[in-house]
């Protein structure tokens, strides 16, 4: 079974402090983390290197998280990659939109590190 260290996670959030918290949590568990501040940057990154899981916020400038998920799903290499949405949005309607866009799951901020890691461990 591959270890966490061999897995790369793309964390996307326009808040620098959120990116920092996600990075700390994931790196503490041994994952490698690449970061992007919005959907456009994330999409560029994902095209130039492969990642094992995407963790994205929804409301971001330039390109929102649901559009990012949709764009990534359209790429052959990301058809089956787990994509988690991490957001303050907790409404069913938004979750439904996330599901339709191709997200694998939905996590409401603020996340608890243990819960986030347990969820990721189920997926990769």
């Amino acid at each position: 079974m591959p270890s966490a260290a061999s897995h790369v996670i793309l964390a996307v959030d326009d808040s620098a402090s959120m990116r920092q918290m996600v990075r700390y949590t994931l790196e503490s568990a041994g994952y490698s983390v690449v970061q992007a501040a919005d959907g456009v940057e994330a999409l560029e990154l994902a095209r130039t290197r492969s990642v094992d899981l995407v963790l994205t916020d929804v409301n971001m400038p330039r390109m929102d998280g649901l559009t990012l998920v949709r764009e990534l799903r359209a790429l052959e290499t990301y058809k089956f990659t787990p994509m988690l949405v991490l957001t303050t949005e907790s409404g069913q309607e938004m979750k439904q939109r996330g599901k339709q866009a191709g997200a694998t799951g939905w996590i409401v901020k603020p996340f608890h590190p243990d819960q986030l890691l347990a969820t990721i461990a189920k997926l990769i």
Partner: protein
């Protein structure tokens, strides 16, 4: 303020308003702008403080990681007598850092919500400057609908609904009650896999 359709702010006039320029709408817009400026200033100050805290947090995380590696690299005769005690201390630090990760996210959420309040104030300042618009009931309805669309969290939406039902602002926390807090706490970290 209300002298331009593009912008509410005419600072020179604000310093020395000509008597003919004085309108209640202009004063309301000015007051809203003052609230916005105060909020902006307080947020900028808090951001600096929180960024400093995050830097400290990152430094602490790095130091903890190094300490863990150093303990692991010690020869057994030095490591074994202290290992258990040091690991307990490191675990306690780790627990505190986990709590900090959650706490920092609440600040992020606060910033987001205050950003919505700030946008609402700006929208209202522009809105009241147009007297015809401000006198039309359906235009107010449109404004409220537009502002509601801003909200991202369930808490914001609940407060909006309570206010629309006529609950006075100071009574909103009590009206939302413990259920509101409990529901918000339950939603935090909620995970749903599709």
């Amino acid at each position: 303020m209300c002298t331009s359709a593009e912008s509410m702010v005419v600072r020179d006039e604000a310093r020395e308003p000509a008597p003919s320029d004085w309108t209640p709408e202009q004063q309301i817009a000015h007051m809203l702008e003052l609230c916005e400026a105060q909020m902006e200033s307080a947020l900028a100050e808090s951001d600096e403080a929180v960024n400093a805290l995050i830097r400290s947090f990152t430094g602490l995380a790095e130091a903890t990681r190094e300490l863990r590696s150093s303990i692991a690299a010690l020869p057994p005769h030095l490591r074994e007598p202290v290992e258990s005690r040091l690991n307990d201390s490191l675990a306690a630090i780790q627990d505190d850092m986990t709590s900090a990760v959650v706490a920092f996210q609440f600040y992020d959420k606060l910033t987001q919500r205050l950003g919505h309040v700030r946008y609402s104030l700006t929208s209202l300042a522009m809105f009241v400057c147009n007297r015809e618009q401000a006198n039309a009931r359906e235009q107010w309805q449109r404004l409220f609908t537009a502002l509601r669309r801003l909200y991202r969290t369930q808490e914001e939406r609940e407060i909006f609904e309570l206010m629309m039902q006529g609950v006075a602002a100071p009574e909103v926390p009590a009206a939302a009650g413990q259920d509101h807090d409990a529901a918000a706490a339950a939603r935090a970290g909620e995970v749903e896999l599709f």
